[in-house]
Amino acid sequence: MNHTMGTLRKFRSIARFLKGSAHFLVLALAAGMLNTMFNALTPQIIRHTVDALTGEGGYPGTRFLLLAAAAVVVSASLAGIFTYASSICISKGSEGFLKTMRDQLYRHIQRLPYTWHVQHKTGDIIQRCTNDVEIIRNFICTQLMEVIRIVFLIVLYLTIMFTMNLRLSLIVLLFIPLIMGYSAFFYSRISRRFLLADEAEGELTAKVQENLTGVRVVRAFGREMYEIERFDEKNNTFANLWIKVGRLMSVYWGAGDFMTGIQIMTILIIGTVFTVQGHMTLGELVAFISYNSSLAWPIRSLGRVLSNMSKASVSIDRVSYILDAEEEKGHPDDLKPPMNQEICFHHVSFSYGSDEPVLKDLDFTIPPGSTFGVLGSTGSGKSTFVHLLDRLYELPEDSGSITIGGVDIRRIDLSHLRKNIGIVLQEPFLFSRSIGENISVTREDPSFSDIREAARTACVDDAVTQFDQGYDTMVGERGVTLSGGQKQRVAIARMLLQKAPIMIFDDSLSAVDAETDAKIRAELKSHMGSSTVILISHRITTLMQADFIIVLEDGHIQESGTHEQLLAQGGIYRRIYDIQMNTDDDLLMEGGKA
């Protein structure tokens, strides 16, 4: 019960999503109450008919009986109309609420900083956005409504019963807390088991999924039997936990039926005694029994609903956790300066959380329209550099500054900044739309010739036109699977169409073979125009065309200069160059000899 009160308090935090649907819920409640009232009429009609049939005053006429029959149908029809109205209102209210909540969550998640996304697992967030949202919806639109309706029903029925027979009603009253309490107790006990069983199911699913995605590894190592043994373990745990839940449930159901049965029996027997003793009429007894059995289910479900409501409390917390996370900040006085300007890093240091800094005192200038190369090994901080420039990670105030055209990027309007910086990531993400839509996703009104032009520059036009549906080919699970290289090239085309004055290639040709790599770079060269280009790679051949190159090592600039200067310095760059080139020099020599 305490949980339930807690849930109600937390409810206020999500009540804002009820805007626009609350009135439907109020209407639904009103209709539900009217429905309950009309439903309560039928036993009264039966009562009067039975009394008329057994009473002292002689038998009723056929007319009376037909009237009674008509009254039953009319009251049921009226009840039916209100049931209908109530259901419609509930569905309108709850679907409206659901939509508002979903849209708001989606909007919010899109605007949460990239840092937040990195720290959270996709599966978990989705779970919160789907399951937990559904639980909250059920709590407000089904359970809460149901509780109100049931309480109303119990009060109404009991009132009627009290007016018919006080002592018998008191006996009914005795059973209510007993059955309700038992239900609530049981459900709160079993919900823990449900949780365990749910987890086991999640683990089993994960196991199967992993086996399927790793099928090539399983086969290549001949580990089929090992996999089946692991699967059996999880499958057995899963089944056994659910069987345990089932056993508990069977006790609950059986005992619930038993208690309800005893209640109905008690009322019938004591009622019979009272009737025989002349304390009540037979009609009253029949009506009383009818009300009493109508109470049985609502009482049992009230216990269940109340204990289930505590689940909603957890779900509200889980959803609020997302909603309370802070969105990316923007200020009304943010600037929108021209972006085809000089980019400056002033003593930039950065660390993720409290860890070792990944960037240490970076200080350099990228003149507008130039090509800037970054060479670094895995974990040297080269991707962090991109994240900072695009403000995917926010540079803290005291960690130096990055300026574009002299304006601190932290003062630049976020979407203005990002619209003007085009990035191709190493493992680019394509949306499950058509290839054409993917390429033109940044444009409001793209023309097909623009799309093809961009695709041609990125050397992916040939590959795309080979698909049956060309640019309309769907990407992803419901369409074709593109190779890593094709994805990278589609992403390049997409970025080109963004027509940004600053372009960043973050190791974005790593999955393309050398020949295509060269073709793309040649194509790009003629299309880069006056854009500033930042190339990040561990392939020297990609970098050596840059006007200026820095070599990142452990987060600081180890070397910098033009390709020739770096070669002359004889440092890391030279060493990597030798490794990559020497082998090729051998080739050249051998080729020359041939």
Binding site: I88, V215, G254, S415, D513
Partner: protein
């Protein structure tokens, strides 16, 4: 191949259901228990209203309380019987559900371990997963609960009719008039409701995948500044959802009151017609009250029957989906003779296995993929003596993996033979060959668990020391030790917590610890930086000595020392030979090589510096 949601069958088909029987068979005792107690439950439910009739007719009407204690005792016993049978029946059903589900899931899983890559290549994981998990759950739930519910409802309705006919057959017949109307109404609405619910579920799964995309693609959306566009699209789907859900709800909202009104009609008939009979002393008042109970009580079970029948038919689709999976024939299969001698994948007879040397011979091999007609390999001959390093080069998508897939028997040739140590590999078991292969893929897949466990996957009985040694051999120790918990670091789902480079290093160690006779490196070092790659290459050279190996690469510098280089273009082998021979040929390989160092030459001539 595109996979669409299968159409649902419309009519009840007993042949489909027969296929579930084998899964039910081992649990027939449980099923019998469920049946028996289920029957008792419906019997008790039929008897209960008769107590009210007895009380009215024998105590109240006769104005006596004689025998009320006995009455109470009998009543109590019946309730007790109900308690026990409800408990045993639900307990049995719950167990039955899990037993059937468990057995089906296992059957699917085991079968999946045998299916060939050609199946996995065209079937999305999510598609298979939903068959193994949700479809089996639905079928098991249907057999354990819905069918027993239907039986209960059927027995109950039947029993009530018998009871009513016995009590007063004329009144009973009049009430029965309503039943067909009720059944038709329910049938009509339930089918519509099911249809709309399916629609709602479909939209729901679109919402989930939209969330998925919104989250997975967050970084990309941010860099492209298309958050608002995404939201607009999302709102469109949630709007569709609202419309469909309200439509579905509207159907139930009409249906439920209609049923209730039908019920009130039955009550009205009992009251008016029964009242007249009571008045004419043709009917006892207690019987009338029992009739009212029956008239109201019969409606829920009839609705349930129709509802369950509609669902029963919809579950056929689930059964068909699971059976299609189980019927899927593996493309690569061991013959019965081979299984006889060497054991199956699941029960290998390792004692009969010949040791493997690693000679591989392609003898007049032709091949085309099952979904394509064009031969990618025709009458291909190649002898690979044990210890040879074979390199395969060519453009992205040229079909470099085909040869390796054939050699590893992930696919079998459509013509000709492949001999391992001089014997057609189809005369040996798959597991025999696979146990001797070390495979490192371009996109390495790790299993969730620690780094230690992942490396040990290559050889299950390896000690910690051996794991560390293997890691060291490929410089994976540096990556492992850099992490917080060293070798005990959890790599996350699919190795997600590690970088691609780190994953490659670990998959490398995993292959090496298996100490295989045959090694496959599929563009294995593409995401490792140059210095690390150098380390690996040195280690590889050492490790490949004495083993037959295939190296697929697009950086030609890595394969110059290979014993044979196969040059692939458009799925066909264009040239083959040693590096030097191929260069002398001045063919396509020569062209590729030139291409790769042309850039350096260009750079020396100062062409790139113009940028």
């Amino acid at each position: 191949m595109r996979i669409e949601e299968q159409e649902y069958t419309k009519n009840f088909d007993i042949r489909i259901w027969k296929r579930v029987l084998p899964f039910l068979k081992p649990f027939r005792t449980t099923a019998a228990v469920v049946l028996i107690f289920n029957l008792i439950c419906s019997l008790v439910d039929i008897i209960l209203p008769l107590f009210q009739r007895y009380a009215i007719d024998n105590f109240i009407q006769k104005n006596t309380l004689d025998g009320i204690w006995l009455f109470a005792a009998v009543y109590g016993v019946v309730i007790l019987i109900q308690f026990v049978s409800v408990m045993l029946f639900t307990r049995g059903s719950a167990s039955l559900e899990m037993y059937i589900g468990k057995t089906m899931k296992r059957a699917c899983f085991v079968h999946l371990q045998e299916l060939s890559f050609s199946y996995y290549n065209v079937t999305p994981v999510g598609y298979i997963l939903s068959r193994v998990m949700s479809d089996t759950d639905r079928i098991a739930g249907m057999v354990a609960w819905n069918i027993t519910d239907m039986l209960w409802a059927f027995f109950y309705v039947l029993g009530v009719f018998v009871a009513m006919l016995l009590l007063n057959w004329k009144l009973a017949l009049i009430i029965m008039l309503i039943v067909p109307a009720l059944a038709l109404l329910t049938w009509y609405f339930q089918n519509k409701i099911l249809h709309w619910n399916r629609k709602v579920r479909k939209i729901n799964s679109r919402i989930t995948s939209s969330y998925n995309e919104g989250i997975m693609g967050a970084q990309t959306s941010k860099t492209l500044v298309i958050e608002d566009k995404n939201l607009a699209e999302f709102q469109e789907i949630t709007g569709e959802m609202r419309t469909a859900a309200i439509h579905a709800a509207r159907l139930s909202a009409v249906y439920v009151p209609l049923i209730l009104i039908c019920g009130s009609l039955a009550t009205a008939i009992v009251l008016s017609r029964g009242g007249i009979l009571v008045r004419e002393q043709l009917l006892m008042i207690g019987t009338l009250s029992a009739f009212t109970s029956y008239a109201v009580g019969i409606f829920e079970p009839i609705q349930q029957l129709a509802r369950n029948l509609a669902e029963l038919i919809s579950v056929q689709a689930n059964i068909e989906r699971v059976m299609t999976l189980l019927d899927q024939e593996p493309m690569v299969k061991d013959s019965p003779e081979v299984i006889e001698k060497y054991g199956s994948t699941f029960a290998p007879k390792r004692e009969n296995w010949e040791p493997i040397r690693g000679d591989i011979e392609f003898e007049d091999v032709s091949f085309h993929y099952p979904d394509g007609k064009e031969e990618v390999l025709s009458h291909f001959n190649l002898k690979i003596p044990a210890g040879t390093t074979v390199a395969i080069v060519g453009e992205t998508g040229a079909g470099k993996s085909t040869l390796v897939n054939l050699a590893c028997r992930f696919f079998e040739p459509t013509g000709g033979r492949i001999l391992i140590d001089g014997v057609d590999y189809q005369e040996r078991s798959q597991l025999w060959l696979h146990s001797n292969i070390g495979y490192v893929l371009q996109n390495p897949h790790l299993f969730s668990g620690t780094i230690m466990e992942n490396i040990r996957y290559g050889r299950l009985d390896a000690t910690d020391e051996e794991v560390k040694r293997a890691a060291k051999a490929v410089s994976a120790d540096i990556a492992a030790e850099r992490l917080e918990n060293g070798y005990n670091t959890d790599v996350g789902e699919g190795g997600g917590r590690l970088s691609t480079g780190e994953k490659q290093l670990i998959s490398f160690a995993r292959a090496i610890i298996a100490d295989p006779r045959i090694f496959v490196l599929d563009e294995a070092t593409s995401s490792i930086d140059t210095q690390t790659e150098q380390l690996i290459q040195k280690a590889t050279e050492k490790l490949l000595k004495g083993r037959t190996s295939f190296i697929i690469a697009h950086r030609l510098s890595t394969i110059r020392h290979a014993d044979v280089i196969l040059v692939v273009k458009d799925g066909k082998i264009l040239e083959s030979g040693k590096h030097r021979e191929l260069l002398e040929k001045k063919g396509y390989y020569y062209h590729l090589c030139r291409q790769q160092f042309q850039e350096e030459t260009l750079e020396k001539e100062g062409i790139f510096s113009a940028v």
